[in-house]
Amino acid sequence: MKFGIVVSEGPYTHQASDSAYNFVKAALATGHEVSRVFFYHDGVNVGTRLSIPPQDDRQIQEQWSALAKEHELDLVICIAAAQRRGLLDQNEADRQGKDANNIAEGFRISGLGQLIEMGIQADRTITFGD
């Protein structure tokens, strides 16, 4: 099976990104493919590299970045939702005249079309949200 995953809430405030992470790990461990993880609504905030969570708690962004690296996952942050919430890569920062970018390793910013494309190409689409 090819799974497409949507994460539509941000880190810590909702359990969504944790549940999604656990699902993705289990899917990969049981031999399935995860074609894309698409971050929408506040889910884009999972992709900031500037978070400093308490040391005795799970490091949500780092976990995703590490998982993406290990399994070559495609972590996509929706550009429209990201712009609203101030999640930028260098390209966007330059384009929009902002003085910084904050995207974490392993994430890329792209359009909503990537979500639809994911829905078309995956066998199953699962959303973790509120």
Binding site: V6, S8, Y40, H41, A80, A81, G111, L112, G113, L115, I116, E117, G119, I120, Q121, T125, T127, G129, D130
Partner: protein
């Protein structure tokens, strides 16, 4: 050539108190370019998204309700609205916007995009989909 899949966008939340209604619409508009078989479902508090006369000026919010009337231009013409959800909330079809599309297979006659269905029929619509996106 990809197969055409049935996409259902499920809307269960009221507008303005949260962003889900508005950002769901943004997905629908972008998704329209992919030529899939698209339907929208409005149930529970989602039916509130379609009411007429939304005036957000004093609240300082963006009024995105006109976008529903543009859906026909994007060939999104199936807006399923649940009767029981309307009834529970004291709404009738009259309280909702008049959303139309031009049927190119019928001389571009204007037809309503809103299809009021029972809960049981809504369940059947849901069970018929390939991809269900909830917001």
């Amino acid at each position: 050539m990809s197969d055409v899949k049935k996409f259902l966008y499920v809307n269960r939340k009221a507008p303005y108190g949260t962003i889900y209604a508005q950002e769901a619409l943004e997905v629908v508009l972008i998704g329209a370019a992919f030529d899939q078989d698209v339907s929208l479902a409005f149930l529970d508090d989602g039916v509130f998204q379609l009411t007429k006369g939304q005036d957000t000026k004093d609240a300082g919010l963006k009024n995105f309700s006109p976008t529903f009337r543009a859906l026909g231009d994007y060939e999104v013409t199936k807006l399923y609205v649940e009767q029981e959800s309307l009834d529970e909330r004291g709404l009738t079809l009259d309280d909702l916007q008049d959303i139309q599309y031009e049927d190119e297979d019928d001389d571009y006659n204007e037809k309503p995009s809103i299809i009021v269905v029972s809960r049981a029929q809504m369940a059947d619509v849901m069970a018929d989909q390939d991809v269900v996106l909830s917001f």
